[in-house]
Amino acid sequence: MREPLLDIKDISISFGGISAVEDVSLNISKNEIVSLIGPNGAGKTTVFNILTGVYLPDSGEIYFKGERIDRKRPQTIVKKGISRTFQNIRLFKDMQVIENVLVGTHTRTHYSLFDSTFRTRKFRKEEDEKIYKAIEILKILGLENKKDEYAGDLPYGDQRKAEIARAIATGAELILLDEPAAGMNPQETDELLNCIRYIRSLGYTILLIEHDMRVVMNISDRIYVLDDGKLIAEGLPEAVANNPRVIKAYLGGELHVGN
């Protein structure tokens, strides 16, 4: 087995005495696509929030590239190489798409306020570089023609993609996608799937929260299932889909596997 890129060991967190995530362990290897699924309120987004430093876990440890990150601030974690999108899109609506992506490059832009005020060579060189990079990323997601639109004016599907572009722009190796297909029609979802595969082919690692089982079964290398804050299953898509505990967790409903 390869050395994991991300290794979560027994994290727990509770709010006001109610446990939201309990002893969850999870690992991801480089260049994998891993999904985290579970019914509403299972604690998936909470895991993301702990991972990105929004919440401090009550116990447990998180290692990223062998380095412990669970007590670090969100800014530091971004710099280390983990970036995310949000369930309820959080783009900078009054900024152009390209500006949103440029904000993503923030931690890796090093010129000072002095440089930008006096337009030094360093500023121009770096700014040109970032703009170039931003457009390259927008190309990956097929948004290069919409770079000058305001993020808030984009159609829903494109907003999701713009968030992914922004996350990639941070230079992160591990991208956390929080329900990227939510609210998309089947055609948009297919596009998104291709997009995610393409991003993986570029060397990124992806952790995905998703409700759409078609997406999850189609794209994941491995799946973790969370119910009521606890991990109830993990493994290859096929195995997870046929796991009786998982089926029960989804209110006895059937999982629709395949296309």
Partner: protein, 351 residues
């Protein structure tokens, strides 16, 4: 509504064509330079200088309100810091005006940090209240610190700025050019700020603080920075303002002053530079020109705030620019190859 938007954008596209933009900027500069020869009487010239100073003040507040989304209700406090620092240094200690500006900048930056620090913990309205409290406390400091500020008696006979034997007065239009210079420099600064890492970080903080944090932006740092920039700009304008007035006391820097500056930003259009100009012209020039309105001046300011918020919260000249993001030629060539470069060449910045 829709038609108006489109026409604004067409107009904008036209105005910001590189050639048109250059010609217009040149023309505007030329007009500004010859203003003193237009034969305006000294009363009008005083108002023109006041407008320039208020544009500068609005530009400062705009960094807070327009870019970063922090509403400061205590700008008058920063203005007072600058005004008193320069006045005391020049009048009491005989410093040169321009040397005293250095102290003024450092002091204002320090005050800006102190006032910005609460943004570590507070957001929105609470932060605004802190700034308001700051504005009031500064006035108390002025009253109480009598040995330095001469207390409620105020300071009279503030000397005009002078450099190398030339005194900048209203009569020789030195004051006018000085305030114009400061205004233009600040404007230029704001323009470069928006199109930089710093400006984007500030606007990201306004757009969505949590998302900004998740992009690795140190939100606290940028909020404090916004306060520092606003404080320094306001203080510089305040220094100039005090030499124009020739007399200051604690009642020069009241909440009303902060309200006027805020009204300018809101009326003109937060987050824009053009808005600060039009806002100052309307709110400073008009009441002076029609003296009969003086009694109702602040009633009108109030109504402007209410009506703008209700019907055009983005301000008179606030609209979403439809211009493409300025990208330098070399970058475009790198992206698309030199054969099919498109319309957008050179640095077509826009405010």
């Amino acid at each position: 509504m829709r038609d108006k938007k489109i026409s604004f954008n067409n107009l904008e596209k036209f105005l910001y064509q590189p050639s048109v933009f250059m010609i217009l900027t040149g023309a505007a500069l030329a007009v500004l330079l010859i203003v003193p020869w237009l034969g305006l009487n000294s009363y009008l010239m005083n108002i023109v200088v006041k407008v320039a100073i208020y544009i500068t003040l609005a530009l400062g507040l705009n960094i807070l309100v327009g870019y970063t989304g922090l509403v400061s209700l205590g700008q008058a406090g920063f203005v007072a810091v600058g005004a008193y620092a320069t006045t005391i240094l020049t009048k009491v200690y005989g410093w040169n005006f321009f040397t005293s500006l250095i102290v003024c900048v450092v002091l204002a930056a320090a005050v800006g940090i102190v006032i910005g620090l609460p943004s570590l913990r507070l957001t929105g309205t609470y932060l605004s209240i802190i700034t308001l409290g700051f504005g009031e406390i500064i006035r108390t400091v002025i009253i109480v610190w009598e040995p330095l500020t001469n207390g409620p008696m105020g300071i009279r006979g503030i000397p005009r700025p002078a450099l190398g034997g030339i005194t900048f007065t209203m009569a020789n239009s030195g004051m006018y050019y000085l305030s114009l210079l400061l205004m233009l420099l600040v404007m230029l600064f704001c323009r470069t700020l928006v199109r930089s890492k710093t400006g984007r970080a500030l606007r990201a903080v306004k757009g969505d603080e949590t998302a900004a944090v998740m992009m690795g932006i140190n939100v606290t740092y940028y909020k404090v920075l916004a306060f520092v920039l606003a404080a320094v700009i306001s203080a510089l304008a305040g220094s100039l303002y005090s030499t124009q007035l020739g007399y200051i006391d604690q009642n020069t820097f009241t909440f009303d002053m902060s309200t006027i500056i805020l009204s300018i930003v809101i009326l003109g259009g937060m987050g824009t530079l053009r808005g600060m100009v039009i806002g100052s012209i309307i709110l400073i020039l008009l009441p002076e020109l029609s003296r009969s309105l003086t009694d109702y001046r602040f009633v009108i300011y109030g109504l402007i705030l209410i009506l703008m918020m209700r019907f055009r919260p983005q301000g008179i000249l606030g609209w979403k620019s439809r211009l493409p993001y300025p990208i330098r030629k070399t970058v475009i060539e790198r992206i698309s190859g030199p054969q099919n470069q498109t319309a957008d060449d050179g640095e077509t910045n826009h405010a």
